[in-house]
């Protein structure tokens, strides 16, 4: 990853606005795999942007809010990525996952025991806050931009904690080929629907995915009974999601417990307070001294004019330029450059 001091405050995370819609539309078409919260449909995207603006604006949060962010490259004044948060997964519906469990059976007489991997359909993650809609322009993959795009959301959650659950989760797309053929879906869901996953998504349309989940087998799936390619796909990541997933792992998310019930992709989750960005964050004044050699994530305290940036400097005022007003009570967290990063 390239991280030059010249990049300090180069990128800004802010709420998505109506004017950003063309960028969102472009991202939605470019992200062919698995980002169902970015439908490639202008009207649906416009509705999401509108909902997001209302969410940022409302003082009366109920849990159904979604927050959409965009990332600006201030050097070229371009929108280069987007990310989001759903305040409560499932909200008024159930949020389904498969929970990885292992059962051990033993027979004394046969002097044998086994350890069997099972998948249990569950609603454990209903009501947790969900990180969604991550997309970064490929040209920016190797920069600080995706770090801010992903971790800036966590600063937002830390800053406005009363709007979110104390547990955070994020879904990542599972293995599928270019035609949408997904080994996990083919082995599990397809048996109950008789169609491939893209077809089911089209059929279900705007309905909640829980509608599909309710048609799935309610009893645990014994993994050894699945075809090998499906077993191998459990918890495997689609290559396009490697970067955001690595950031989530670096934050401290647990990736072992849950998978997506449709494509078997990993669903990470963790208590908010255990995540690096949130746990290490603190509220500082604009002139408070910061270690000048460290990179910091910094986020403003005003919800409707939320801004977050990544910078280096001796104080908040120094790490963000004057035109980027982070306000007086901003929240910062020290940002460690990943190993191998060039500073």
């Amino acid at each position: 990853m390239n991280a030059s001091p010249n990049d300090s405050a180069r990128y800004v995370l802010r709420p998505c606005e109506v004017a950003d819609l063309p960028f969102l539309e472009r991202f939605a078409h470019a992200s062919a795999h698995g980002i169902t919260t970015l439908p490639p449909d202008r009207a649906a995207l416009a509705e999401r942007v509108e909902r997001s603006l209302q969410s940022f604006a409302t003082d009366d949060a109920s849990g159904e809010e979604i927050y959409l962010f965009v990332l600006e490259d201030r050097q070229c004044n371009q929108i280069v990525g987007t990310s989001g948060i759903a305040a409560r997964a499932g909200f008024s519906d159930r949020f389904y996952s498969y929970r990885n469990e292992y059962v051990v059976h033993r027979s004394k007489a046969l002097r044998a025991s086994n350890r069997i991997h099972t998948l249990h359909l569950c609603h454990d993650l209903t009501g947790v806050s969900l990180l969604t809609s991550f997309y970064i322009e490929p040209a920016y993959s190797d920069t600080l931009a995706p770090q801010l795009l992903s971790r800036g959301r966590l600063l937002f959650i830390a800053q406005f904690a009363d709007r979110f659950a104390d547990r955070i989760a994020a879904e990542s797309p599972g293995l599928a080929d270019d035609s949408g053929r997904c080994p996990f879906w083919n082995a599990v869901g397809r048996r109950f629907f008789g169609m491939d996953y893209p077809s089911v998504e089209r059929l279900v349309g705007e309905r909640s995915k829980s509608f599909i989940a309710e048609l799935m087998p309610q009893s645990p799936v014994y993994v050894p009974l699945l075809p090998e390619d499906a077993q191998w796909a459990i918890g495997q990541l689609h290559p396009v999601a490697a970067l955001p997933f690595s950031i989530l792992l670096d934050e401290g998310f647990d990736a072992e417990s849950y998978i997506d019930i449709f494509d078997g992709g990993p669903t990470v989750q963790e208590r908010a307070g255990m995540l690096k960005t949130i746990a290490r964050s603190r509220v500082v004044g604009a002139t408070e001294n910061l270690p000048g050699t460290c990179w910091h994530l910094a986020a403003s305290a005003v919800r409707t004019r939320f801004r977050a940036t990544l910078g280096i400097g001796g104080s908040v005022a120094e790490l963000s330029p004057p035109d980027l007003d982070l306000g007086s009570r901003c929240r910062i967290t020290e940002f460690e450059l990943p190993q191998g990063a060039r500073s």
Binding site: S107, F211, L215, Y222
Partner: protein, 310 residues
Amino acid sequence: MTLWRFRAMREPDAAAVAMLRPFPRSHIADADAMWVAESVGDDTCRLLGAVRVRQEIGLQEPRYWYHLGCVVHAAPELGLFHRERTLLLASDLTGAAEIADVAVCADADIRVLRFLLRGALETLSSCNGVTRPGRVIVELPGLREADGRSPFWHHLGRHFYSGDPAQAEAHLGPAWRSHVAALLPRHPLHVSFLPEEARAAIGVVCPLASAWQQALDEAGCIAGEHVTVDEAGAVHEIDLPRWAVRHCWQRGDWPSATCLAANQALLIVAEGQSEVYRIPSASEEPVGQAKSAQLQGLPGGERVRWRLDD
């Protein structure tokens, strides 16, 4: 004249029973609860077959079967309707009586199997000293490939017990199924998760036991909702009280002066001795002409019932 007799196995029978041909999965080495059918002539006596009759199974050692169930996944608004078969490991048949471990002589035909079944059911129905069972089950051997591989086990059980089932069965006898059940899945299994080869084997009976299956079907002992845990062989069931009332019996002295029509037989159950006799028609002779010592010595009275059988 030759009659057939069904009686409890005795020690001297052991050698003759060992010469019989057991059906696949039948274990005849153990004489406990074994019964035999024999052909009794004026001067000869020949073993036709043997069968085990167990009362109240699973009360000492748990027994397991897969229960075949069904779940429906439906979403009318999407036009989706799926009827899914399920397998659930269960001990539903605990307490039933069981007819098992059938073996017959080399030239036996289906009539011998019918008589073995009749004898076993009549014996259970006579309930000497024990509570008359309600349900009687018969496990049938499942489908196997020429090399002895069970497709059902290969695609299901093998994933839960990696040992050799044949070796385990040789070591533990038929109780090996109870032991292996401890390793098998406890939650319902959707049959659709199994490959077609395994699905197709569920409830299918080994061709070598097809005559036995026919005899069971004829008697109304039909495949129920369970299969064996290792091969998914069909488990046939019959409700004994309902089976018993299908036939009208006379009590007391059997009609020794009666001449039987062709294809007719006289069935006699000596409840006190737990023996069942089948006397076939023989020319124009009254059945009482039979000179079988055993038959001549049969007591009459309330402990003997008889009826004419087709």
